[in-house]
């Protein structure tokens, strides 16, 4: 006896949770359960177990089908309707012609002789329970009866008998089912296509009368002895309402009661059905008649498996499945694409109408180019990724990168490729290039990877192996593919893997003459990018400049094709030489806008880069303007879930924070972090940067614990992806020690700094980050009352040449110096230092509302003048300054109470 080992309360609690979790998409369910609070701890394991795949599978098998007992004597089949000689309404039945899922068909004649010929009388096995439906049938009959097409069997009459039995009287056609006819007559391809054209034209005619068939299949198409195809059964056709049939009572009862073999994905899915659904069914009929086999090969022979296949599986090309060699050749190419276009899963990828399908068939018969074409690489990769769960969330990013990579990635490259593709050899190379990328994905399909989930990394690794093996001797193609692979590695944050692939790519295409210019430039730009991430600025700059020179020489300096090199060089120089970077960005931006208009997505990327230059120079107002202009453009061009959108949201958070709008800052930064995790996976460096950003805002909002958690997340990611001494690793450690100081954990703060300072680093940015760490160390020394040490540290920083140009760093160092001097009671020097620090703050303010208020007040606390400190803060608060961090900073303890009082 099956039993639930559960009490009623637990049951109802679990049942409620089930209701909520089932509302979520499947992928979100387990994480949601994991996120439930401790009060659910006892329920979680069982809930997880209930939702496990195994659970659903077990019951689907058992409940899906009731077992059959075919040996059971059929004692009570008594059916009151239908026998030869019976009358149904005004008809007398002569003999049964056939029986289908929908009902029986009889040869019948009118008892009153109104129609002299015998008719095919269809007796649907459907249920009619309202007078309204009878009216509806009558109305449809009026419309269907007006059909007058040589290849559509006429509908003469339809009605409901007094007993409630509906009937349809159709033109009686003497012929054979088209599939049987074709199999027996052994038609050649042209005659077969002519027959299919008749059918397609007939459907097109019905569509022009706004009627869809909904049940096209070989048994509904008869062929007469003189090779005329006749389409039967517009009996369940449904009036179109504004191009799309709405599911009404009538269609719900009859429209979906189909054999699913020819049903379209939207019929299976129960979404509204239009003419495109017939186009799909026609495609299946074509497929079967041309190849002799059904499009889907099922592992299990069940309706469920078929439905699944219709929704998910791409059929093999007709030419791949047909047996006859001559047919294989005839179908390959145009006919493959025509059939598959008709059978596309997504409506809008099919022919818009049967008439368009007919037109393409006629083009084929006249040897003209057809409209149907093989699906693009990007489309196929995108589809593949949606279908298979490819490893982690990083797969989404991989697909994105590959799709972009398949065409050349950045705006300039992508469009340049298209222009070049006009040359025939280039077109052939481009085709093979995309084909190879798609193969890389398909070769990694789960069947072939032995049921394991494949990771993006694995796809790339295998891809590189295949490239070496199969393309040796074709350096351009090999180089181009390796460039893409290297780029994808970079996008995935796997910089060390990117490097060797790109080295090889550059070596392969270098010295191959003008034809390889674009390939070489692209490989160099990509390598420069990887080197930038790997913190090797000298090598990156040399690559970027070489790429720029090649492109300028090949296309001229004002051609948009040079933009990728300009942008990459700008990214490299943004810290060391922001003004030059800004010029490079602006040049790239102008080229893009001139070529593609102001709403170009890549121009928006540059806009955001320009914003970042402003932000680095503390011109927050300008930065904010640039970001706010870029954000909607990026969203429109790339969608909400895109790494570029994630990054501009994070940047906006940074700017809002600096402008003192912490609540807004937190909101956008949080959104940005979510986007980054979604598109890049939780271990991506972008996520680390977003976390750091969120941490700094949390700090401002007074939540140092959250700040510490987010920073630790970033530190863990960076440790995996960046070499020691990378500026981001140093900066993250700096931030962490800052939060530790605020929490009063000075010893930990000191250790954190010491660890990160223990590495050698060459880069300028890393040098500055280390200096910033020294400023923090000076703060620790001061708090531990080692004022002299503190002062020396600050002075050491100020003496370092790397400080000049970074106003924020310099201001911080000057404040630290001033604090130390004040504590040492070197009043005059301290005052001088304070004045310089304040000047620097004001100069660097650029729109920040209250430059240095906090540091200024702190100085007076150090100088033993809390009244002055309080006055400065009160004055600022009176003018709208709102900085709750004050209450969390140990330095402000003496005046915190007073401030708090004041705020109330």
């Amino acid at each position: 006896m099956p039993r639930f080992d559960i009490d009623a309360d637990t049951w109802s609690a679990l049942n409620n949770l089930l209701d909520r979790v089932l509302d979520l998409p499947p992928a979100a369910r387990i994480p949601w359960i994991d996120s439930l609070g401790p009060e659910y701890a006892a329920l979680k394991p069982r809930l997880r177990d209930l939702l496990s795949r195994g659970a659903a599978l077990r019951t689907s098998q058992i409940l899906g089908t009731m077992p059959a007992f075919p040996d059971l004597p059929d004692v009570e089949t008594a059916s009151p309707v239908a026998g030869a000689g019976d009358t149904v309404g005004p008809y007398r039945l002569i003999r049964e012609l056939g029986e289908g899922g929908m009902g029986t068909v009889w040869l019948a004649e009118r008892t009153d002789g109104l129609i002299p010929r015998p008719v095919a009388l269809k007796l649907p096995r459907i249920f009619w329970h309202s007078a309204a439906l009878a009216e509806r049938l009558a109305r449809e009959r009026e419309i269907l009866a007006t059909f007058n097409h040589p290849h559509i069997a006429r509908l003469y009459d339809a009605g409901i008998t007094a007993e409630g039995q509906p009937y349809l009287a159709l033109e009686y056609v003497e012929g054979r089912r088209i599939d049987e006819f074709v199999a027996q007559a052994r038609l050649d391809l042209r005659r077969l296509l002519a027959l299919l054209l008749q059918v397609t034209d007939a459907v097109a005619h019905a569509h022009s009368q706004l009627v869809v068939h909904r049940d096209l299949k070989p048994s509904n198409i008869l062929v007469t002895a003189d090779e005329n195809a006749m389409l039967l059964d517009f009996g369940i056709a449904k009036l179109l309402e504004q191009g799309e049939a709405r599911e009404t009572e009538l269609t719900e009862q009859s429209g979906r009661a189909l054999t699913p073999d020819y049903a379209s994905p939207e019929q299976i899915g129960g979404t509204p059905i239009g003419t495109a659904s017939d186009v799909y069914s026609l495609g299946v009929v074509f497929y079967e008649l041309l190849t002799g086999v059904r499009p889907y090969r099922l592992k299990r022979d069940s309706r469920g498996a078929l439905e699944e296949a219709i929704l998910q599986v791409d059929p093999a090309r007709p030419s791949e499945v047909v047996q006859e060699r001559s047919m294989r050749k005839a179908l390959r190419g145009d006919l493959d694409w025509i059939v598959l276009k008709a059978m596309a899963k997504e409506r809008d990828r099919r022919y818009a109408s049967a008439a368009d399908l007919a037109a393409d068939l006629r083009r084929f018969l006249r040897d003209e180019p057809v409209e149907a074409s093989p699906p693009s690489a990007a489309y196929r990769i995108g589809k593949f990724v949606r279908r298979h769960r490819v490893g982690t969330a990083a797969a989404a990013l991989l697909a994105l990168a590959l799709i972009a990579g398949a065409a050349g990635t950045t705006a300039g490259m992508l469009r340049a490729r298209r222009a070049e593709a006009s040359a025939r050899t280039e077109a052939a190379t481009a085709e093979r290039y995309s084909g190879f990328l798609v193969d890389m994905f398909e070769a990694a399909a789960p069947e072939q990877s032995k049921g394991r989930d494949i990771t993006a990394r694995e796809i790339l690794r295998r891809g590189a192996v295949r490239i070496h093996k199969e393309l040796a001797g074709e350096p351009l193609l090999e180089g181009r593919l390796l460039t893409t692979i290297g780029y994808v590695y970079t996008r995935l944050g796997l910089y060390s893997e990117a490097r060797p692939a790109l080295d090889e790519a550059v070596a392969l295409v270098r010295g191959k003459g003008d034809r390889a210019n674009l390939d070489l430039a692209q490989a160099l730009v990509r390598r420069g990018q990887a080197e930038r991430y790997l913190n090797e600025p000298a090598r990156a700059e040399s690559d970027d400049r070489e790429a720029l020179a090649i492109l300028e020489r090949a296309y001229g300096p004002n051609n948009v094709k040079v933009e990728p090199a300009l942008t990459e060089l700008g990214l490299l120089l943004r810290a060391r030489d922001p003004e030059q970077a800004l010029r490079l960005y602006r040049r790239g931006y102008d080229l893009l806008v001139a070529a593609h208009g102001e709403s170009d997505g890549y121009a928006a990327v540059l806009l955001q880069n320009i914003g970042s230059i402003h932000a680095r120079a503390l011109r927050f107002q300008e930065a904010k303007d640039a970001y706010e202009r870029a954000l909607p453009l990026l969203r429109r061009n790339f969608g909400e879930r895109d790494p570029r959108v994630g990054s501009v949201l994070g940047n906006l958070g940074h700017v809002y924070r600096n402008l003192g709008d912490y609540a807004r800052a937190f909101e956008v930064a949080r959104q940005g972090l979510e986007v980054d995790i979604f598109v890049s996976g939780p271990d991506h460096p972008d996520v680390g940067i977003a976390s750091l950003n969120l941490a700094r805002i949390s700090d401002k909002l007074g939540d140092q614990r959250l700040a510490l958690d987010e920073t630790d997340r970033a530190i863990a990611i960076f440790a995996q992806r960046y070499p020691p001494g990378h500026p981001l690793r140093i900066q993250a450690a700096n931030f962490k020690s800052g939060y530790l100081i605020e929490l009063g954990r000075l010893a930990e703060a000191r250790t954190t700094l010491a660890n990160s300072a223990a590495v050698q680093t060459a880069s300028f940015e890393a040098r500055r980050a280390l200096l910033a760490g020294q400023v923090i160390l000076a703060e620790i020394e001061r708090l531990e009352k080692h004022f002299l040490k503190s002062q020396e540290l600050a002075r050491g920083v100020l003496a370092d040449p790397a400080v000049s140009g970074d106003q924020r760093l310099e201001a911080d160092a000057r404040w630290a110096h001033a604090y130390a001097l004040a504590m040492l009671a070197k009043t005059d020097e301290a005052e001088a230092a304070r004045a310089r620090a304040l000047d620097l703050e004001s100069a660097a303010a650029h729109g920040a509302a209250f430059p240095g208020v906090y540091a200024h007040a702190k100085y007076y606390l150090c100088a033993g003048n809390p009244d002055r400190a309080l006055a400065i803060l009160r004055d600022a608060v009176a003018k709208g300054f709102h900085d709750p961090i004050v209450l969390h900073d140990p330095a402000f303890a003496p005046i915190a109470a007073a401030l708090l009082e004041r705020r109330k």
Partner: protein
């Protein structure tokens, strides 16, 4: 098994023209559903969303066509159908088992080929029957949904109509029932 409430509910709707007595109507409906239950047993019941025209429809049509049921009786009829068919099918399976154990009722000669499968099928039907009983202790409606779908072969829309809830509720109940029953049917 109790299908009585539905029986009375249905009977309330009878009484048009020359309609038979309550008992006669019930007998007619029961005969009809018994026939359907056997049809389902012979063919094996597929429960897929595409089968939007269920056999129960036809039975109703037949009875309504004969003037024995009114349109308003449909809901009662549908509700009754699942329960009655479950009862017929379970009785049949039990009889069959006892027949093989030497009982005298309704003995059916088994072909060797069908033998093994049939045993498993019988067990499966009884297990589902029992699991529904267990499910009913916690959630009567959820149990009814499974009963109507599995034994009655009713469509989602019909079940929704019978239980006076939305299609979505029926789908959700079915989805949850499947998960719960995976425990009971282990």
């Amino acid at each position: 098994m109790q299908c009585l409430g539905d029986r009375l509910g249905m009977a309330d709707g009878a009484g048009r023209g020359d309609a038979s007595s309550v008992d006669a109507l019930f007998a007619a409906a029961y005969q009809e559903l018994r026939r359907l239950a056997r049809l389902r047993l012979r063919a094996g019941g597929r429960n897929t969303v595409l089968d939007t025209t269920s056999l129960v429809h036809e039975s109703y049509l037949r009875l309504a066509g004969a003037g024995r049921l009114r349109v308003e009786d449909r809901t009662h009829f549908l509700r009754y159908a699942g329960c009655a068919m479950r009862s017929v099918i379970v009785d049949f399976v039990r009889q069959r088992q006892s027949g093989r154990r030497g009982g005298t009722v309704d003995r059916i000669t088994l072909t060797t080929r069908a033998g093994a499968g049939v045993h498993a099928g019988e067990r499966q039907i009884l297990r589902v029957h029992e699991a529904i009983g267990e499910l009913a202790r916690f959630d009567a409606r959820m149990a009814q949904v499974v009963e109507m779908r599995y034994f009655g072969g009713l469509t989602e829309t019909e079940i929704a109509e019978a239980l006076q809830v939305t299609d979505r509720t029926v789908r959700r109940d079915w989805e949850k029932a499947r998960l719960w029953l995976s425990e009971a049917l282990k």
